[in-house]
Symmetry: D2
Subunit: 354 residues, 4 copies
């Protein structure tokens, strides 16, 4: 299994290289009868696409999705939804700096080792361009989920951390700025910082926080497929992600159990939510929230020394137009992956009662 499938029942298989003919996928298992809002799907793609603001890569790619099947008279038919996004920007590049040498902290070297050779153009399959297909499938999942609300936002860029409980934030402000941070003041600081970094020809990392609300009780499968474990895998499968924590996370280890335990209200809700909406791997109806750490983008526009295929040291430098910080464009990807997990577990949960 070459790892290009996600989900058990609400299941997507993606394909495509950065500079091949097209990227896309097949979504199988989507329930029949969903009145699809195709514009909403394109809107999600637009949130991810390059060239959308001054702080992301200035490449121009429209990323228009075409649907091939599984939709009839505007509604999902219950049969697989095939889709593709043609690559319009794939020609006439100069790949000499990639073709025969290995960029540090990229997948170039390991692809050659694993497969014997690689499509080096723009990083091939290892490019984050692949995540556009996830956004399409995730946008459909969102429409299936309907009442479950998924909001992700940038909560840290480099050292600039938004230390605000998500309950004190106005999610409607997320899209009001290029960084996708719902605190306008912090957003401005982050934006300026990213611009500085770009001027240096360097990059920086960041954190995305995701909040899922109106989750029904009971989603999640015990043992290996705990809801937060699958969410964790989903997030860790996004390019550049280095860490995942939910609820009290890494800070929670310092607490005592008596303080960490979420005491019940009479209606089954809890007074605190250190559990992050998941107990024993199953949603308890409280908000699910988690943080995802993204490393600084590996492509820096500075000269560096690296090795070529023969193991010789060569001097080279990053070329083209790249993101100085990945998190603003990763926000819709995080939401898409969360939606895919929730959709899958919603279907799984239908099967366990008489």
């Amino acid at each position: 299994m070459a790892g290009n499938t996600f989900g058990t029942l609400f299941k997507v298989m993606t394909f495509g290289e950065s500079h091949g003919v097209a990227i896309g996928g097949v979504l199988d298992g989507c329930p029949a009868g969903i009145q699809l809002d195709l514009e909403a799907i394109q809107t999600e793609l637009d949130r991810r696409k390059p060239g959308q603001s001054a702080i992301v890569t200035q490449r121009k790619e429209p990323d228009s999705v075409e649907f091939y099947s599984g939709i009839f008279e505007g509604k999902t038919t219950g049969t697989p939804i095939g889709f593709a996004i043609h690559n319009t920007n794939q020609k006439s590049h100069d790949y000499s700096h990639i073709k025969d040498s290995y960029r540090p902290s990229h997948a170039d070297y390991v692809y050659d080792q694993k497969y014997g050779f690689r499509d080096y153009r723009g990083g091939g399959r290892s490019s984050a361009r692949e995540t556009a297909s996830r956004v399409v499938a995730g946008a459909i999942a969102k429409q299936f989920l309907k009442d479950i609300k998924i909001n992700a936002y940038v909560s840290q860029v480099g050292d600039l951390s938004l230390n605000t409980d998500y309950k004190n934030l106005d999610f409607s402000l997320i899209e009001s700025n290029a960084v996708r941070c719902p605190d306008p003041e912090m957003a401005l600081k982050m934006e300026n910082y990213i611009k500085e970094i770009r001027k240096e020809g360097d990059t920086v990392g960041g954190i995305i926080t995701c909040v899922i609300q109106n989750v029904p009780i009971g989603l999640g499968e015990p043992a290996f497929d705990k809801l937060h474990a699958e969410l964790g895998k989903a997030m860790l499968s996004i390019n550049a992600v280095k860490g995942f924590e939910y609820g009290s996370g890494f800070e929670g280890v310092k607490m005592k159990g008596s303080a960490h335990n979420d005491q019940f209200n009479q209606d089954g809700t809890t007074k605190t939510n250190h559990s992050g909406g998941v107990q024993g791997g199953i949603s308890n109806g409280m908000d699910i929230y988690f943080n995802i750490a993204f490393k600084p983008v590996a492509t820096v526009i500075q000269g560096y020394e690296t090795i070529d295929k023969e193991g010789n040291m060569v001097k080279t430098q990053g070329k083209g137009r790249h993101d100085p910080c990945v998190v603003p464009r990763a926000v819709p990807i995080v939401e898409a992956m969360a939606a895919l997990v929730l959709a899958d577990y919603t279907l799984l949960n239908r099967t366990i009662k008489l």
Copy 2:
């Protein structure tokens, strides 16, 4: 899919409740011809079992594994390995405090909501007792992996953090103390702290660090099944885990790309290892290392108020003998899950070249 299977090719399905007849599992896909060291498997179980030291629960359960199939004349046959650990301690307990009320931050409430009722004895399927089956399968995986070395240890208990690079630690000291921290001085501090916590009738969390060495280049599947994504899921599926980070992790977000990138040596190794041994989801031959955050154990031996099935507030308190801190016993579980992932990805990697 009720979520009790782990792995695609090296695949284990587990069963069992804390106080049922037995727990166990079936391991399918283990290659034929491995000369099994059954004592080494039991040793791993003994590292996990209750009653092994003064700082873990004082319950007595021998946790002896019986093998039913898949082994002939001491060697694996390539057919499924069935095994069981009979529960010897499951009788005559008083469960009145669990049966009709819900313990905070346990799975009691969500199980009732998801399944309609539950086996409340000792937490049923949601008990960490289930992980003993994982340790059996993982111990077999370790023997298959042979040269790949997996070492986990406790690096934090509450606020007590071992701020030492793993390369400066002597892994042979991990088993020299009850905490499983390879720094004897820190181990003593941690041990004393856990004893204090226990006296308070309280609990505390901790962090386990895991290091995997001698990993061949090329393990991992791009896109959704990246090696670190599967490791993350494996770890997050362990009871009480709240977070996972590998390589530079959450700290890495603050770094610039120029500093974070791992520059190559001429032999393909890297000068630094912020990547944590994985690039683009594929092992690059450097050490894999990651941290796992465990919350404080939910069962506290203090009085507390909670709700019963009818939503009435009731006073109750933890009973029986519980772990004040889960990390010392979780070390072999972490290693087992890491071994299962590595074994599965070793087999998957055999299939992608001509």
Copy 3:
């Protein structure tokens, strides 16, 4: 994936060799809340067990199943059901004729080639003893299915064929004779024929017909996982099966479309049922019926020449007590596999509508 798992949602993994410690399995995904009739499960095992009549092997094995988990206060809990049947008859046999030589039309030779060696005792994993685990899981599936009625019976032994439409048969007579043929007269002929064959030290094949009634409309997944395709795989996975046909089957190829088409009644039922209850891979509410061809048992109690591991010709003969014809004991296995497929597709069908 070593092939010991069946089903996607209602999923069983089995283990065990003919003469190992035990055989058994884990059933995962069985819905919670089924009041299990454990005696009914044992009754199914008794229908399959050796020694039950004069025309089957005279080995004595009680085949008592023990349940380890997943059942609480008599009901399924939604967690995995672990079970085992200990082998009581596994000792002190003489295997010299199997150990170093290969029985014709058995799996001895291919196991050695595939795995490098094998557990030769009683055929090891390739023994039909493995199917006892399927019968346990299938018996639980039957209880989940409740209103769906599955009846299998012997319709042919050697040349003796029961050329009667199943609608003219009284299924309550199936268990009235040792052959499990619902026509008492034909049953007697078959029984006498099997006894003759046994006296010759020979064996003979047969056909089992299976009829599934009260199937709801809509079970089955288009494309690869058509309902009849999965039923076919399920049946072909039973030891000694050589063919599967449903509805009009092989005879249907001679018909013209105008005659073969099943014309509708106004209520959606059809006037004829050449479709065998499945159209486009999906159940249409009519009876599902199919035939399964079993080859003559490979173990004959006659002298024969074969090869040993070194490729030398050796003289040997079948030993022990074997079935002269497999179909009487295979009837409950066929029903079990049909039940597993129907249970799985019932759960899958829950997931495809809004």
Copy 4:
């Protein structure tokens, strides 16, 4: 799981409706480094396409496949191969006879019941047009398999049966006639018979025989995933298939074990091959051969009465250009599915030895 995926390691997911925008699929897990012959793939599609001869449907569709990914410099990269075939013939048809009424022995009725509504144009997803995607994937599988030779041919049309052992046939003659029967005399008879049937506005069934040669020993997984069980499922998943038998098949039930058993030669080959190349679910190196029964095509160009959505009886008749007999065009589909199974089991077999 909506059933549109086939294979575990060499895995294809298909999409597409008969008259939607496009059909296609994603092939994941294909090993890297195969020098693809794209013309050979198109040739396989041409063998399946409509309009290729006088005895198949006269629709004109070029069925040109476009590849989107997974191929670089002519070789497979080990990443998913996305492909599509655009539907060129999907416009301006008159579907009034299908839209609101249900064609007998088609999937119209059950689709409406299962999904709530359906894409009725040309049968939508239930059309055999879907199998073109399988032919693409299967053609790649053939190139991976290289030395394993797969030949299918028509061995029966209606009552006209080619009673010749495949060893006496010249496979190079299969493509020499429109029926794809390697016996020119019988081919002519079949062709004439099909023309007659077409004139009647009727259809007829047939049998395809498939022979697989040069199979290495050891392919196949015991228990549920026996090689012939997966082959059976693969074939039964093809539109219009009603039965599958391999080796001695249904005729074998009449034989005695002493005659049916395949005696060994000293080199491990067998003197006879009633086993059909598979023993205990594992290939033994002998030729694999099997028969597949196809029902008469359900679309007859004759008037008939059927029901509409409201359950009223309505008069209608088949329209458009349809195949009077499906087997000539199904030959490449059978070969494709066989190739997919063999490719998958080849990869699986790599994982079970040390």
